[in-house]
């Protein structure tokens, strides 16, 4: 059956597009949607309903449709699209859905992006009100953005054949759009749906950029774009949706909103059927009846629920031989699949289309999202914007106004006011177009439903929710619309209640015998229409998902086969496996080489903060648990920082560069946090202190050179430096030249070995690293990664913040009372040490653990228990293993652990459940290697 008209519509009849639906081949034209093309081919059944499996068709022509759910299968599979919003293209393949879509198994090849846009006036909706608003604002010189969800401007005008200023409305629209597009500072975005309205003029809009091109979409172009629009003023000209009336068996395909049928006719040249019944509560559906009749549809009957039909329109119908019955309603339908007959009282009228109008719902979703108050308009039977917002204006039928000229006038006023509020007052008057429209919709009757079989009277066609469901909900004791919505699931489906929500509210009010004005409408939540996850993720995926931070020496590590560990956003060399090595063998080799000769690592990721000012010492005394002001210029001290709750938050070295200058290092993961911490205290608590902090983390490349032969290597590359133990003491630093470039060398050790930390300007990093490698070659210098660093420090009992600590650990728990000043009157965290909990003797304390079997490696994260047999749960746990390694230096495995009363348990045997066994371990001090510190000086 071909239901395409001979002429008319904004489709390109000279071009044929081939597509398939449910496996059958069809044709359509450019300008069609999938829905219009299917209807033109006589396909009214699109899918079936999710709960009852009843056939579902096309109810509306646009994004408010609630039933035409399809799965697009080609060009790329995408679930749950409305056929009314899928633009037809050659090769489109789709199928109807039973309420559930299917995700593609293969990765989506499309690109998505986002763009920020700023404007003085944002206009949402390019119907008559929006166009006039945008033009008015544009002429005032304001920066204007106009967004519209359709592929062409015009809004409601696209669905009529009316004239504006004595010429087809499309011409008027084209002129306005042309002027807008040629005005500097104006951006017109088609196929762009404003889907979310947030604080401070932040509007999100989704632009569908290439979907309509199908297979011809250019590669590289983002398929969809999220516009992040920040506007000073907004004009919402979002229009109104026609709503149906609920009656028994109102869900058959072929039952369509009257205005949508009119849109299919005028925009796409498609007839809804060959013989139609029109059922209305207001004037607007008469236009559909008349237009369709003039296009050859047999209008069997116009059923007007009002006691009297409007005289002029009834006369126009009579002139065309259309019967009008007032004071009657549709009481049922027939059909197997598509509607085949309509019942009006006792009369049965055969037809293949039923066009319904129950009035109009202003589209207030964005206004409501912007926290605009809604008010019930009893004449309209709908919620309308009920209060002013200082930065958001509503114009056109979104206010409930349905007369075209009045809508345009509201648009002009809103455009003027918005521009003026944004500071633009020089705009000229935009002339309002004169309309020849024969009907306005205002003089309607508010009718939610026709009584009858409640079980077959569908309120939400997608959720299969009926009048009976609503009445069961109110009968169950539910009073709030939110409860009824949840009980019945009305309004929770794909369309989010665009057509069903108001009707459900009306039926609830009737059932409860309350005024709708007293009911609070359910909340409108973003997004207005659905948005793909990928569009929201934009380009923040794959390599761009989260920045990878790398050091200046990183390319060398890559070239030399390092495996990397993620530490925050940094990539750090984890270990450098040689052929055939796994983690353990590589790390044992790296550890041995370092302890026995010399190794080095890239320590550039450590946070570095330059702290300057007269009060720098005083300031650091407050932040660290130990004393920094007494540190002498040229010397270095290890320090611990706590939060105000007394728990360790970071540690590192502090070097005194000058009388009023320190350089503080932080752990890799906490660099930004500690700088923020310092600034917070300085700016908000102690602004009187003369201290300034500057991050220099990336200014320096930092290379710890570690092991008994490190002195020899350093001497070879720093000829000007006296590296003797006497001249270059432990915990001091010297400025010198290393490999010919200025360097600061610190003698610090995180391994217990003789060690130096060489700092050079980052862009010299690779050169100095390579010079050290060359100079160390005679000693078998070995680059090592974080894992070896962890083992070396663990053998010495040095904790890693975040591994040995978990925000419940104090310096005392770590055995670092020596780093907690007794002299300072105060420092951050000190007061918390005095709390009862801090002085319990059974706190968890850092100790070493030696498995009885020196070959057994305890899994990190293992728990520790007291008995050699497990009782029934819950089992009392004494603590857990924080670090565990095989040690080359100790010739055995060992672990660090936090253990309840650990410091008192030295020498005790405890047990670690590992899978099904209990591993006996001996508690030891945390320092296991070179307890005397003999190796420090080489």
């Amino acid at each position: 059956m071909n239901l395409r008209t001979g002429t008319g519509g904004s489709i390109d009849r000279n071009t044929l597009l081939h597509f398939t639906f449910d496996g059958r081949a069809y044709t359509g034209h450019p300008g069609d949607t999938l829905a219009s093309a299917l209807l033109a081919n006589g396909v009214h059944e699109i899918g079936s309903s999710v709960k009852l499996g009843r056939p579902r068709g096309v109810v509306a022509a646009g994004s408010e449709d609630s039933t035409s759910l399809v799965q697009v299968e080609a060009p790329f599979s995408e679930p749950m699209l409305l056929a009314t919003t899928v633009e037809l293209h050659d090769g489109l393949r789709a199928r109807g859905l039973a309420g559930q879509g299917r995700l593609a198994a293969e990765p989506d090849p499309a690109r998505y992006d986002a763009k920020h846009e700023h404007c003085d006036v944002l206009v949402v909706g390019a119907g008559p009100a929006g166009l006039v608003a945008a033009l008015t604002a544009a002429r005032s010189g304001a920066r204007v953005v106009l967004v519209d969800e359709q592929n062409q401007a015009g809004g409601a005008l696209l669905g009529v054949d009316e004239y504006l200023d004595d010429r087809p409305s499309a011409e008027w629209v084209a002129d306005v759009v042309a002027e807008l597009k040629s005005t500097p500072g104006v951006l017109v975005l088609e196929r762009t749906t404003a889907f979310g309205m947030y604080q401070d003029g932040f509007v999100l809009a989704l632009q569908k950029r290439t979907d309509h091109l199908g297979f011809a979409a250019p590669a590289g172009v983002a398929r969809q774009r999220v516009w992040r629009i920040r506007t000073r003023q907004t004009v919402l000209a979002t229009g109104a949706h026609e709503r149906p009336v609920v009656f028994p068996d109102n869900d058959r395909p072929g039952i369509m909103l009257a205005s949508s049928a009119r849109t299919f006719l005028h925009r796409y040249g498609v007839l809804p059927g060959s013989r139609a019944v029109v059922f209305t509560t207001n004037d607007s559906a008469y236009c559909a009846a008349i237009d369709l009749a003039e296009s050859g549809v047999d209008i069997a009957l116009v059923v007007d629920a009002r006691p009297e039909a409007p005289a002029r329109l009834a006369a126009e119908c009579a002139a065309r031989g259309i019967e009008v019955r007032a004071g009657q309603v549709v009481t049922g339908t027939e059909g197997s699949g598509r509607v085949s007959a309509v019942h009006v009282g006792d009369t049965r009228i055969a037809c293949d289309a039923l066009l319904v109008s129950g009035g109009w719902n202003p589209v207030v979703s964005l206004f409501s999202q912007a926290r605009g108050k809604l008010r019930y308009d009893a004449e309209l039977g709908a919620f309308v914007p009920g209060g002013e917002l200082s930065t958001v204006r509503v114009a056109g039928s979104a206010t409930g106004e349905l007369d075209l000229t009045a809508c345009a006038c509201q648009g002009r006023d809103a455009g003027l006011l918005a521009a003026a509020a944004a500071g633009f007052t020089s705009g000229g008057q935009v002339p309002l177009p004169a309309s020849d429209s024969r009907c306005t919709a205002r003089s309607g009757l508010v009718l939610w439903r026709v009584p009858g079989d409640d079980d077959a009277s569908f309120v939400d066609l997608q959720r299969d929710s009926t009048v009976a469901d609503v009445l069961r909900a109110t009968g169950a004791g539910l009073r709030s619309l939110e409860h009824v919505k949840r009980y019945t699931t009305i309004g929770t489906a794909h369309d989010q209640g665009k057509t069903s929500g108001m009707i459900a509210a009306g039926i609830v009010a009737e059932a409860l015998g309350v005024e709708l004005a007293e009911q609070r409408p359910t909340t409108f939540r973003p997004p207005y229409t659905s948005v793909s996850f990928a569009a929201l993720a934009g380009r923040d995926r794959g390599d761009l998902h989260d920045p990878v931070r790398v050091t200046a020496i990183h390319p060398w590590h890559v070239a030399h086969g390092a495996l990397f560990e993620d530490v925050g956003q940094w990539k750090r060399p984890w270990y450098y496996p040689r052929a055939g090595e796994d983690l353990h063998t590589a790390v044992l080799r790296e550890c041995r080489a370092t302890r026995e000769s010399v190794g080095m690592m890239d320590g550039s990721t450590l946070g570095k903060i330059d702290v300057q000012g007269r009060d720098a010492g005083k300031f650091l005394d407050m932040l660290y648990t130990n004393m920094m002001s007494t540190l002498k210029v040229g010397r270095i001290r290890y320090g611990v920082m706590c939060g105000v709750d007394g728990m360790v938050i970071d540690d590192g070295t502090v070097i005194r560069v000058g009388e009023e200058r320190y350089l503080v290092t932080t752990t890799t993961g906490n660099a930004a946090k500690i700088l923020d911490w310092m600034e917070e205290w300085l700016q908000t608590e102690w602004p009187h202190l003369d201290v300034h902090c500057t991050s220099v983390t990336e200014h320096w490349a930092t290379i710890p050179l570690v092991g008994p032969r490190s002195r020899d290597v350093l001497a070879a590359v720093a000829p000007g430096l006296d590296v003797s133990n006497e001249a270059f003491e432990f915990m001091t630093w010297h400025d010198t030249e290393v490999a010919g470039v200025p360097a600061r060398v610190c003698r610090i050790s995180f391994s217990g070995e003789l060690a130096y930390e060489i700092n050079v300007t980052a862009w010299h990093g690779v050169a100095v690293w390579e010079a050290l490698m060359a100079a160390g070659e005679p000693y078998g210098i070995t680059p090592y990664g974080t894992e070896t660093m962890h083992v070396l420090r663990a053998e010495k009992g040095y904790p890693i913040i975040g591994q040995e600590t978990d925000a419940t650990v104090t310096p005392q728990d770590l055995g670092m009372s020596w780093a907690v000043s007794k002299k300072k009157p105060d420092f951050i965290g000190k007061r918390s040490f005095a709390r009862a909990e801090n002085n319990r003797t059974d706190r968890k304390q850092l100790v070493g653990l030696l498995p009885a079997d020196p070959g057994v490696l305890l899994p990190e994260g293992s728990q520790i228990v007291e008995t050699d047999r497990l009782p029934e749960p819950p089992v009392r746990m004494l603590g857990h293993v924080t670090s565990s390694y095989p040690s080359a230096a100790l010739g055995r495995t060992f672990a660090l652990a936090l253990v309840r009363s650990g410091h008192e348990r030295i020498g005790e045997t405890l047990y670690v459940p590992v899978e099904d066994s209990l591993v006996p371990v001996t508690v030891t001090e945390s320092v296991l290697y070179d307890k005397e510190g003999a190796r420090r000086d080489g």
């Binding site: 593609a104 989506d108 998902h545 993961g669 909990e837 819950p874």
Partner: protein, 409 residues
């Protein structure tokens, strides 16, 4: 012919509850008609025989966080104190449908908590071991095991934050939040509890250090005992009796997709990238994000949080690319300094406190309902909520579930 995908879901009963006028006096007034408040009323009536109880709700019943959460139920918490109360809760969940005679769609499909860094792995293994010794089902699964449990998770090592493994609690799962709340409400109502909606508490009366009544938008209601179950609004209520709480109320956002054929058989959580996702019974993907940073009572959050969540979700689940965001919303979560709740007595006689659940409130509903009812009935904490005192912030005996924030070497 196969039945339609949505045909199998149970219907609600024909009767739920009455809407009585508040009486002038009750033995116990519960402030807050969310899941916790209603469950507390239910256990007061059922376990302790206290039925002269009113639940006062300022809006619609169970319309706050109960209606807004992502319904994840699990008990695999690190500390003994937490695992005690959450496991108690999980055990009650396991019998709840029968207990309430209401289909709550409790589905023990398991939860995976993903680890993305070596420290995540250590923390996860630590938690698994602690769980097992506490009698809680928990296992550590490697990436291949993750793939087996949830095939759509991207376990490729070549992504920004590869999945290094996960903890798995098989008994964890999801339930249907409204069904749970309504099941409790119907049962509580049937035992004589008054559920009073649109009744906002505007003040509280005390006499001689004891609570005596609450002032409400529907008049004064005398009360022998008053129990606060107001989640995000707890601070505002406690302020009425001069009680200051260590809470911050934050927006927490969540979202759903449209209905999709089953693709996601379990629950996946990733703290590192701030995503948790499951597929609900009808087929929608339900996702939650991290909390918004600022205090807020507006039940709305900032959209960049959703965008970040989406990019993180797509890294984990590339198949979600063309799923569509259908609806977003926010609740108000009351976050305590140690991310653990505060449940127990207060300095005001007869006034009881249940708050600070942050993002964990839904899963605790049966457990805390039972324990809080015990606390109210006996004027003494139940052993499971004994550690969660207000005093712990003074003594320092925190139950810090934030855990290690980040590895920092």
């Amino acid at each position: 012919m196969t039945s339609p995908p949505g045909a199998h879901l149970p219907e609600h009963p024909d009767f739920l509850w009455d809407n009585p006028e508040p009486k002038s006096s009750y033995d116990v007034v519960i402030v807050g008609g969310g899941g916790h408040g209603i469950a507390t009323a239910y256990y007061l009536a059922k376990v302790h025989g206290i039925t002269n109880v009113a639940v006062l709700e300022k809006g619609w019943l169970a319309g706050g966080n109960m209606a807004r959460n992502t319904t994840i139920i699990r008990s695999n918490y690190l500390w003994d104190e937490s695992s005690g109360i959450y496991e108690h809760s999980l055990k009650l969940w396991e019998g709840l449908e029968e207990d309430l005679g209401y289909p709550i769609l409790f589905d023990q499909r398991g939860v995976l908590n993903l680890a993305h860094s070596l420290q995540d792995v250590r923390d996860s293994v630590r938690r698994v071991n602690a769980n097992r010794l506490n009698g809680i089902d928990a296992e550590w699964v490697d990436p291949a095991g993750v793939k087996e449990i949830c095939p759509i998770v991207n376990t490729s090592p070549d992504v920004r934050y590869p999945v290094l493994g996960a903890t798995y609690q098989p008994r964890a799962g999801i339930a249907k939040h409204d069904y749970v709340a309504w099941g409790y409400a119907r049962a509580a109502h049937a035992m004589g509890v008054d559920l009073i909606q649109n009744c906002e508490v505007t003040g509280m009366e005390t006499s001689g250090g004891r609570i005596t009544a609450v002032e409400t938008s529907r008049g004064r209601i005398a009360a022998g005992k008053v129990a606060l179950c107001a989640a995000g609004h707890s601070s505002v209520l406690a302020e009425m009796v001069g009680l200051r709480l260590p809470l911050a109320s934050h927006p927490l956002q969540a979202l759903v997709s449209e209905l999709l054929e089953p693709v996601h058989p379990t629950v996946v959580m990733s703290n590192a990238v701030h995503v948790y996702v499951s597929q609900a019974h009808k087929g929608e993907l339900v996702m939650g994000a991290g909390i918004d940073s600022y205090n807020g009572y507006g039940q709305r959050g900032s959209f960049h949080i959703i965008e970040q969540q989406m990019s993180a979700a797509l890294e984990l689940f590339p198949v979600f690319a063309r799923a569509h965001l259908l609806r977003t919303w926010a609740g108000i979560v009351d976050v305590s300094p140690d991310a653990s709740p505060i449940v127990g007595l207060t300095p005001v006689g007869g006034l009881y406190l249940n708050c600070g659940w942050g993002t964990g409130g839904f899963k605790a509903t049966p457990g805390v309902g039972d324990c809080f009812a015990h606390t109210i009935a006996h004027d003494k904490p139940h052993p499971f909520n004994e550690p969660f005192t207000l005093e712990r912030f003074t003594t320092g005996a925190l139950v810090d579930e934030h855990g290690a924030a980040a590895v920092a070497h």
